[in-house]
């Protein structure tokens, strides 16, 4: 009951911020524009404008963007009480640390998941608009959107939200979640690049990428033929599934760590 109330209140609070709606708008517009660009290049190639591969590329690019702009969702859910100095009032109510952190985290995660739904929405919108001729469109395949969202976007949202949330909660500052996002992006892309190119361990390198960007944009763009790009669903490959499971696991670990280290006191 209390967890649900904490979740509800946090969700409603953020839903009333202009900032939140800006995130929705930006992702919708960027996914729309990327798809519009894809329609143009589809005319000169044999890759369909709505190929599962194209949908996956748009998804991972938008995930990088989301990771950098929407950090305040997790950050403020985790640190707003301390930053507004309301925490002496909250921390003297009879709620458990698990309810408190859990409610706040789930609210942030659900909100981020909804924000990322703007990516398939933007893609579909661009395809429905006049300008995409039937010749460059394959059949409408819900599974392509579903796999991009469920396999690519959601585990990323989970892992990244836990890291942003944890950093903000433990440092008691919402802005730290932005720093965390940038650091995560920089270190992981440099790290994964180094593992792949210097150590010649591509399997490990691809595992280290929290978004799946390296696999989708870097590896598969060369490895897959146009026909494969038009038909294969991203995320059903073993290495990609392993990557997703690893990052969900990391997310769970970060949540456990946060619960242990969080000071529910002044």
């Amino acid at each position: 009951m209390k967890l649900r109330e904490i979740l509800r209140f946090e969700f409603v609070y953020q839903a009333h911020r202009v900032r939140t709606w800006l995130y929705f708008a930006v992702l919708l517009v960027v996914a729309y524009l990327l798809t519009k660009g894809g329609i143009d290049s589809a005319r000169d190639s044999s890759i369909l404008a709505n190929s599962p591969y194209g949908i996956a590329v748009t998804t991972v690019i938008c995930n990088v963007l989301w990771m950098l702009i929407a950090t305040a969702v997790a950050g403020s859910a985790a640190a707003r009480d301390v930053q507004t100095r309301m925490h002496p009032l909250v921390y003297t109510t009879p709620i458990s640390k698990a309810d408190y952190l859990g409610g706040r985290f789930v609210a942030a995660f659900v909100l981020n998941a909804l924000i990322l739904l703007m990516v398939p929405a933007g893609i579909v919108l661009a395809l429905l608009m006049p300008g995409a001729e039937p010749e460059i469109l394959g059949p409408f395949r819900p599974a392509a959107y579903l796999s991009a969202y469920v396999v690519m976007a959601l585990p990323t949202a989970f892992a990244v939200t836990t890291i942003q949330f944890s950093l903000a909660a433990l440092n008691r500052r919402a802005a730290v979640s932005y720093l965390g996002s940038v650091l995560l992006l920089v270190t992981v892309s440099i790290g994964a690049g180094a593992v792949i190119n210097l150590l010649q361990m591509p399997t490990l390198g691809k595992l280290l990428d929290p978004i799946g960007y390296i696999t989708v944009v870097g590896v598969l763009s060369k490895a897959w033929t146009p026909i494969e790009k038009n038909t294969f669903l991203i995320g059903m490959q073993g290495s990609m599934l392993a990557n997703r499971i690893l990052w969900i696991g990391i997310g769970l670990g970060v949540l456990g760590f946060t619960h242990r280290r969080f000071r529910y006191a002044l």
């Binding site: 009951m1 209140f9 609070y13 002496p88 009032l89």
Partner: protein, 303 residues
């Protein structure tokens, strides 16, 4: 229900000793904790409110061990911190409703009634839909009172509640508190003597982390009877007077300096007896004429 504080000490990481072997018994009713700023009042209040832990010593509320059974305490606690904020972009009504759920008032209709009653009681009903960010200091303070009163606490901790209030707000606030004091333990910390003299049936004076006096205010005043003397002097005569007499306080009154002196007999022909008040109790204690500082006084003075 009684609150027992026994042998509580706390030293902060920076070496400041905030509390030194504090022992107090606080019965139901209004209890005043009086002391200057930095005396350790807020530290003690935060400990009782489960937000900090003592280095040594025990705090018990009835059967509850306050340090270990924090959740039990929180079920029955109302806490108004000295310094707190609120979410700026939410209405008083919505935030109070949220706190009501956190405090365990889960049934919707009961909660609606409680929230409405408290908003009326704290005079916020007409502004309940306003965002808290637009509230004045006094309004925010009253919102804090409403939060603290949720769920009829049997232990109420109010830390320097009157500091930022104008006179009207202060009276309204003290009235709210006194209602509660009939059934619960209400612990009020303040540096304003009037807060204690108007409200409290028991009091303690704290300074430098030590309890200097634990008393019934009226009895303490009674015991000073015939021991406080007053003289109006010019300002530059003050230091000379302080050398010769046990001056406990000097005050300005209409541009003149009024000195209160402690003494079992009249200190001199220019002095007139005063009917003591709680301020005299406070200053006599701080000056080491009565209470626990009395024994250690000579050494402290000679240095």
């Amino acid at each position: 229900m009684e609150l027992h504080i026994h042998g509580v000490s706390k030293t902060y990481a920076n070496g400041v000793q905030a509390l030194n072997d504090v022992t107090l018994t606080i019965p139901a009713g209004m209890y005043g904790l009086l002391g200057p700023n930095g005396a350790g009042k807020s530290t003690l209040m935060r400990m009782i409110a489960t937000l900090q832990e003592p280095d040594t010593g025990t705090i018990t509320l009835g059967e509850i061990n306050v340090v270990r059974q924090k959740d039990e305490v929180r079920r029955t606690l109302g806490y108004l911190p000295q310094d707190f904020g609120v979410y700026p972009k939410v209405s008083a009504e919505n935030l109070l409703d949220h706190f009501a759920v956190l405090k365990g008032i889960t049934e919707r209709r009961a909660r609606k009634e409680v929230v409405e009653a408290l908003l009326r009681k704290t005079n916020l009903w007409d502004v309940r839909t306003q965002k808290l960010g637009g509230y004045s200091g006094g309004m925010r303070q009253r919102f804090g009172v409403a939060v603290a009163l949720l769920g009829n606490p049997t232990l109420m901790i109010v830390d320097e509640p009157t500091a930022g209030l104008d006179p009207t707000e202060r009276v309204r606030f003290l009235n709210l508190l006194s209602e509660l004091g009939e059934s619960s333990v209400v612990l009020l910390s303040t540096h304003i003597v009037e807060d204690v003299s108007e409200l409290c049936t028991r009091m303690a004076i704290i300074d430098n982390g030590e309890i200097l006096l634990e008393a019934d205010p009226l009895r303490a005043i009674d015991e000073l009877h015939g021991r406080i003397w007053r003289r109006v002097i010019s300002t530059n005569a003050r230091s000379e007077l302080e050398r010769e007499h046990a001056v406990i306080s000097t005050k300005l009154l209409a541009g003149r300096t009024v000195v209160h002196v402690y003494g079992d007999s009249p200190p001199g022909p220019d002095f007139e007896p005063v009917t003591p008040d709680l301020e005299d109790v406070y200053f006599s204690t701080m000056a080491g004429r009565i209470g626990r500082r009395r024994q250690t006084k000579p050494e402290a003075k000679s240095s």
